[in-house]
Amino acid sequence: MHYRKRYVIHKRFQFDFTMKILAVVFAPVLLCTLFFLFYLQMKGWMTGMASGSLINLGFIFSFLLRALPVAFVILIFSIFFSHRIAGPVNRMQKACEHLAGGQPVSRITLRKKDYFHQFATKLNLLNDPAKTIGSTL
């Protein structure tokens, strides 16, 4: 059985992936919140009911207070998710290093939820003396 205990395997990919997922989730949040405040401010000016800016220090503080735990959860989610990509790639890379070095390679077994199962199957076939693609596909 193959265990992958480290969650950060490919730093560059996982960092990039995590930051981009954070950006994708928080961009709509920021823009929608700005629209929300802009709309209220506009209506407030039009009706003369707004006595000051709605974006005050209290609001910014409460926004950050809400954003930090959410960002942390997304960070964890992204690391787990990117691990499903980086883990199999790392495993297959190691197998490939052994193959390139002419060393014997143990069969690649990936987790059920991992990606690239088909690729791993094909890489396993390289160890097969028959090396026939039609036998498994």
Partner: protein
């Protein structure tokens, strides 16, 4: 003769079974978080309007224009985010697709050609490894 399309990645969706789940899950997360923040911003404004006695601001919070505009804003963001996510996943899926094609060639006995992927792709170590193996095979 190999067509150019086999080597170049012009399609945004290279591997739907890999790309779509990631894109949809991230977009679902974006919708959930946006909804949560909209609700909490609404609550913050409603509470401050009530405490300051500004009841006309409360009525603005229930105007359909606010929520329709918010929905349109969210939809626009989601479309852009979806495109961005497809580009992100294509960088992984495209590279793996290229590797898989080469493995297919090796397995079918044609011998794979050296792999060259984009500079912005992620798994260059794996690429170098596969190329070393291909050199050994050829």
């Amino acid at each position: 003769m190999k067509r150019m399309n086999d080597w170049k990645r012009r399609r945004l969706i290279v591997s739907p079974e890999f790309q779509w789940p990631i894109v949809l899950k991230a977009l679902l997360l974006a919708v959930l978080v946006s909804g949560l923040f909209a609700w909490s911003t609404f609550y913050f404004m409603w509470k401050s309007a009530i405490s300051s006695g500004n009841l006309s601001l409360v009525s603005v919070l229930f105007q359909p224009g606010l929520w329709i505009g918010w929905g349109i804003c969210l939809l626009g963001c989601l479309i852009l985010s979806g495109f961005f996510l497809l580009k992100l996943t294509q960088r992984v899926a495209g590279q793996m697709h290229r590797f898989e094609k080469t493995l297919d060639q090796v397995l079918s006995g044609n011998g794979g050609k050296a792999i060259y992927t984009r500079k912005a792709d992620y798994f260059h170590d794996f690429e170098a490894c596969l190329n070393r193996y291909l050199n050994l095979e050829n």
